[in-house]
Symmetry: C2
Subunit: 153 residues, 2 copies
Amino acid sequence: MAANKTDATQRRARPQPGRRAQLRPIGVIRSDIKKRSEAPMQGSEGAPDAWLEVKSFAARALDGLQVGNDVIVVTWLHMARRDVLKVHPRSDRRRPLTGVFATRSPDRPNPLGLHRVTLREIVNNRLRIGPIEAIDGTPVVDIKPVLSRLQDF
Amino acid sequence: MAANKTDATQRRARPQPGRRAQLRPIGVIRSDIKKRSEAPMQGSEGAPDAWLEVKSFAARALDGLQVGNDVIVVTWLHMARRDVLKVHPRSDRRRPLTGVFATRSPDRPNPLGLHRVTLREIVNNRLRIGPIEAIDGTPVVDIKPVLSRLQDF
């Protein structure tokens, strides 16, 4: 019985077809922003550049990215609250409580962050990106190219 | 011992601060596209409108969304492969193998889909959205407003 349990655990830990919606970080943000209170609300609001350290298992998936590309970095906002469904937009209490799906609040049922950044430098599996408001240690779960200058984000 | 194990399992199953990166679907796509082979590669390539059925626990988070808004629907592409790191872009074998982070392939370590759609109709917790290339039954994990017409996606 104990052996079976171990086998099952190992099966779950391996990458699987996507039926089980467990994210596996592909990298991590290394930033001078250390606390949520220090982070601007959006990258365009004075955020710094940061390093994205890609884990070795995922490094091959970077092939084709080039310095100067704009990409969407998808983060898991690990300090966010998942039980919040309404917020005052931009934490301004004068603004009425609004559903989180109508805001960019990090607090939401699945705290995914979308960050449109420019790829400034590539050093092996480390990417210099920015501007980005994510705090140091934030897990990264995906990187996607920007499709078109005509589409908004 | 058995009781302790049950308690721990229940603790893990409740919504938690985001340290554990387990997605909890907030809704599901109801579409006439039933198979991956029928889906256009992007919403802008002839995709239909679809219904997004939001689960009752998350319905309050919709407050503030309005018909005519453009939103980003984030899906979990549950039919995708998570062990693929390189693909031929747009499944065109004449194009060289490219890292999935430089493509929009659904096959990638964390198969998240980003869909910029227009909100066409709201009927209680059902949203008519489109165009969207996601197949019927695709779990939805987040909805975010488009921030600016000046930002690409």
